[in-house]
C-alpha cells in the first residue's frame, strides 16, 4: 500500500548504479563499550538523496551508528566517509551533518527563532542573511507566526517542526533523524510522515532515520537496513525486505509471518517440494532457491497470502496433499479455527492445523456484514499459491 502512494519516480534508484560513488560510506565500523559490542563490523553504503532507515529493536546498535555519523561517538575501528571525506577525528561541531533529536532537544531558554538561528550564528552568518534564512526555514515548516514563542509554548507537533527547521537551516549534507516521530500521537504521526517525505524530496538532502517502528520505516524509506545485535542483517527497499526477507529474523521482525519447519524432499526446475511434519503434508514452493534435497529449511508465508474457507463436507481437497511439483498450483491444509480477531478492515484467524501448530491468516473484510463466515471451532481449509511461500535457510 505505501508503495503506491509514492510519488518518487521509478528510475530513482542510485544504489543500482555501480558507477555512482556512495555518499555515506560506513566502512567496517565497530563500536565497543567496555565488554559490550554495540556495533559489530558494519558496512553500509548510502547514496545521495536517499531516505535511508535504520530499523531494529532497542539495543540493536542503530542509535550508536547514528551517533557515530553525528560525531558524538567515535568508532573503535573502521571509518566513516561522508561525501568522500574521512570523518575520523572530525568533531561533531565540524561535521557537515545535522541531527534531529528524539526529544527534539530544543533550547528551552531561547525562542523558536533563536533556536533556528543558533547553528547559523556558530558559522558566523551575518544578520541580514541570518534573518532571511531563519525566515525561510520557519516558512518551510509553516511556523512563521510562532517565531517569538518559547518551546514550552508550543504543541508537540510544532516542536517537532522547530527541530526539523533548526537542523535543516544549515543545509547539511546529511540529516540524521533519531526516532523523529516517536513522540507524536498516532494521527499526527501519519500526517507528519508525509510532510517529512515532501520536505526531503524538495530539498534533496540525504536523510538517515533511526526507528524501531517498522511501519514508519516502510512508509518513509527508499531503502532500509534491518539491524540485529550490532550487525546489519539485510539491506533493501521496503518491498524487497517484506516480500523477500533473507533470514528468519528479518521475516519475523517485519510484519507477521508463518514459519513452517521442513525438509527438502525434491528439487525441480519449477520449485521445490518440502515435507512439513508440523502440517503432516508436503508443501510446494516455487521461485528461485538454492537448496539441495534433504536439507532442513523453513517455509515462510505471510498471513495475508493465505485464503481461508469453510471446509464444507466433501468439498475439501482430497486427503493427502500434493506429492509432485506442479507449477502455479495451490497448497491446501485442513484445520480448525482457534482464535478470531476482528480488526475492522480485516480479520485475523489462528488455525490449528494439527497437534496445536497454529497458522495465522489475515483476510480483508470486503463485504459489509455482521455475520462471520468463519467462526471459532469451525473446520476450515487454508489455501495458498505455490509462489506465495518463501524458502529460508538461515
Amino acid at each position: 500500500m505505501p508503495e503506491t502512494l509514492r510519488a518518487r519516480p521509478e528510475k530513482h534508484q542510485p544504489w543500482l548504479d555501480a558507477s555512482l560513488r556512495p555518499y555515506i560510506h560506513i566502512d567496517a565500523v565497530t563500536k565497543q563499550f567496555g565488554e559490550f559490542r554495540a556495533v559489530d563490523r558494519t558496512t553500509l553504503e548510502i547514496h545521495r538523496g536517499e531516505l535511508f532507515c535504520l530499523l531494529g529493536a532497542s539495543g540493536c546498535g542503530k542509535t550508536t551508528l547514528l551517533r557515530m555519523l553525528a560525531g558524538f561517538e567515535h568508532p573503535t575501528s573502521g571509518r566513516i566517509l561522508i561525501d568522500g571525506q574521512d570523518m575520523t577525528g572530525v568533531p561533531a561541531y565540524d561535521r557537515p551533518v545535522n541531527m534531529m533529536f528524539q526529544n527534539y532537544a530544543l533550547f528551552p531558554h531561547m525562542s523558536v527563532e533563536q533556536n533556528v538561528a543558533y547553528g547559523l550564528k556558530q558559522d558566523g552568518v551575518r544578520k541580514p542573511e541570518l534573518k532571511q534564512r531563519v525566515g525561510e526555514a520557519l516558512e518551510m515548516v509553516q511556523l512563521g507566526p510562532w517565531a517569538k514563542r518559547k518551546p514550552h509554548q508550543l504543541s508537540g507537533g510544532q516542536r517537532q517542526r522547530v527541530a526539523l527547521a533548526r537542523s535543516l537551516v544549515k543545509r547539511p549534507k546529511v540529516l540524521l533523524l533519531d526516532e523523529p516521530l516517536a513522540a507524536l500521537d498516532k494521527k499526527l504521526r501519519e500526517r507528519t510522515q508525509f510532510e517529512l517525505m515532501n520536505i526531503q524530496e524538495e530539498l534533496g538532502v540525504t536523510f538517515v532515520v533511526v526507528t524501531h517502528d517498522q511501519e514508519e520505516a516502510m512508509t518513509l524509506s527508499t531503502r532500509m537496513a534491518v539491524m540485529e545485535r550490532g550487525q546489519v542483517v539485510q539491506v533493501g527497499t521496503p518491498s524487497e525486505i517484506y516480500e523477500f526477507p533473507a533470514t528468519r529474523f528479518t521475516a519475523d521482525f517485519i510484519g507477521s509471518i508463518n514459519l513452517i519447519e521442513g525438509r527438502v524432499k525434491r528439487v525441480e526446475a519449477a520449485g521445490v517440494l518440502v515435507a512439513a511434519p508440523q502440517l503432516g503434508c508436503d508443501l510446494e514452493v516455487t521461485g528461485a532457491t538454492q537448496v539441495r534435497e534433504g536439507q532442513s529449511v523453513c517455509v515462510a508465508i505471510r498471513p495475508e497470502k493465505i485464503a481461508v474457507a469453510p471446509n464444507a463436507e466433501g468439498a475439501g481437497p482430497e486427503e493427502g496433499a500434493p506429492n509432485a511439483v506442479r507449477g502455479g498450483a495451490r497448497n491446501s491444509v485442513r484445520g480448525t479455527v482457534r482464535d478470531v480477531a476482528y480488526l475492522g478492515d480485516s480479520s485475523v484467524f489462528r488455525v490449528d492445523v494439527g497437534e496445536g501448530f497454529l497458522i495465522e491468516v489475515t483476510q480483508p473484510n470486503l463485504l459489509r456484514s455482521l455475520e462471520r463466515k468463519v467462526d471459532w471451532d469451525d473446520a476450515v481449509v487454508l489455501t495458498w499459491r505455490a509462489d506465495a511461500g518463501l524458502i529460508l535457510t538461515e
Binding site: 560513488r21 558496512t43 571525506q85 574521512d86 577525528g89 568533531p91 546489519v232 539491506v235
Partner: protein, 323 residues
C-alpha cells in the same frame, strides 16, 4: 552483505588536508579543557581538605614545645643524607591513660546517637506528612522546614538559652500558672544539649527522608493493602524498607556532625557535659597543646570512619542514579 571491496582511495580535498592539523590541535585543547574542569576543584580539595589531615596526623606524632610552631619537627635533618623521622606515640598513650578523653568520646557518641534517634522519630512523620500533602501545600511546607536553616545557627541555639533558663520562658510560664513552685533546672544539663542538637539538625533529617518518601509510588501501598495488609503492616513491610536509604542518609547527616559538636554543649551544656568537640577546643585554645589536639582529631576521624563510609556510599548511589 554490501561489498567492502572497491577501496579506491579517494584523494583528500585540499580543504581537509589543511584542516586536519587544526582539528587535531582543537581536539587536544578540548581534551585539556575537559581535564581542567576536573583538575581545578580536584587540586583545591587535595590541597585544602586532604593535605590538612596528613599534616594533622604528622603533628599528632610530635611533642609539644614552647616555641613557634609549638611542636617538634617530624623530620630531623642531621648530617646524613636522609632525614631522620622523629615520631612519638606519647600523645596517643596519653589519650588512653587519661579517662577524660575516652569518656568524652563515648559520651559524644551516646549523645549523638540518642539525638539522631529523636530526630528520626520526630522527623519521619513530618517528612511523611509533607510527602503526602497536595503539591501546592508541599512546596510551602518544605520551604518552612528549610527556612530555619537559612537563619543563623548560632542565634537559634542562643534562642534556647532564653527559653530553658531558670528565669526563661518555660519556667516563667509554668510557675506563673502555679504548676511549679520552683523553676526546674533545664539549662546547662544534658537535656538542654539534646534539645539543642535535635532542634538544630532536624531539617537535615527531614530533607533526605522527604526525598525518598516523595518518590515512593502510592500504587505500591495500594497494592499492599489490596493484597490484605493492614495499614501498620503496609508501613512496616513496604514504606519503611523503601525509605531506608533516606533514613541512613538523614541519620548520618545528623550523627556525624553531632559527634563533633562544639557550640551546642558549650552554650547549652553544663560544665560537666563532656563532648569531644569541646575537649578538642579547650586542648587547642586553652592548653595550647597542638600535638594532643591533633591526636584527639585523628582518633575522632577514626571514630567517624564507618558512618562516613556509609554516607559516602549513599551519596555515590544517588549520583549513579542521577547519572
Amino acid at each position: 552483505m554490501t561489498a567492502t571491496a572497491g577501496e579506491r582511495r579517494k584523494p583528500k580535498g585540499r580543504a581537509t588536508a589543511l584542516r586536519a592539523p587544526f582539528h587535531a590541535l582543537a581536539q587536544r585543547i578540548g581534551l585539556s579543557g575537559r581535564g581542567l574542569v576536573v583538575a581545578v576543584p580536584y587540586f583545591w580539595l587535595i590541597a585544602f581538605f586532604l593535605l590538612p589531615f596528613i599534616i594533622v596526623a604528622k603533628i599528632s606524632l610530635s611533642q609539644m614545645i614552647i616555641g613557634r610552631p609549638p611542636f617538634t619537627d617530624f623530620f630531623v635533618w642531621s648530617d646524613a643524607w636522609l632525614p631522620e623521622i622523629q615520631a612519638y606515640l606519647d600523645n596517643y598513650r596519653w589519650l588512653l591513660q587519661d579517662s577524660l578523653y575516652w569518656v568524652a568520646y563515648l559520651n559524644s557518641v551516646k549523645i549523638a546517637l540518642i539525638s539522631t534517634l529523636f530526630c528520626l522519630l520526630i522527623g519521619y512523620p513530618m517528612a511523611y506528612a509533607i510527602a503526602r500533602a497536595k503539591p501546592t501545600v508541599r512546596t510551602l511546607l518544605l520551604l518552612m522546614v528549610i527556612l530555619p536553616f537559612w537563619t543563623s545557627f548560632l542565634l537559634r541555639v542562643y534562642a534556647w538559652m532564653g527559653i530553658l533558663r531558670n528565669t526563661g520562658v518555660v519556667n516563667n510560664t509554668l510557675t506563673s500558672l502555679g504548676i511549679l513552685d520552683q523553676p526546674i533546672q533545664m539549662m546547662n544539663t544534658d537535656f538542654s544539649v539534646y534539645v539543642g542538637i535535635v532542634y538544630t539538625y532536624l531539617p537535615f533529617m527531614i530533607l533526605p527522608l522527604y526525598a525518598t518518601l516523595e518518590k515512593l509510588d502510592g500504587a505500591l501501598l495500594e497494592a499492599a493493602e489490596d493484597l490484605g495488609a493492614k495499614p501498620w503492616k503496609v508501613f512496616l513491610t513496604v514504606t519503611l524498607p523503601l525509605s531506608l536509604p533516606g533514613i541512613v542518609a538523614g541519620s548520618m547527616l545528623v550523627f556525624i556532625p553531632a559527634v563533633g559538636e562544639y557550640v551546642i554543649p558549650e552554650l547549652l551544656g553544663g560544665p560537666d557535659t563532656l563532648m569531644i568537640g569541646r575537649v578538642l577546643w579547650d586542648e587547642f585554645f586553652s592548653n595550647r597543646d597542638w600535638p594532643v589536639a591533633s591526636a584527639v582529631t585523628i582518633v575522632l576521624i577514626l571514630v567517624l570512619v564507618i558512618p562516613l563510609a556509609l554516607f559516602q556510599r549513599h551519596q555515590a548511589k544517588v549520583q549513579e542514579r542521577e547519572a
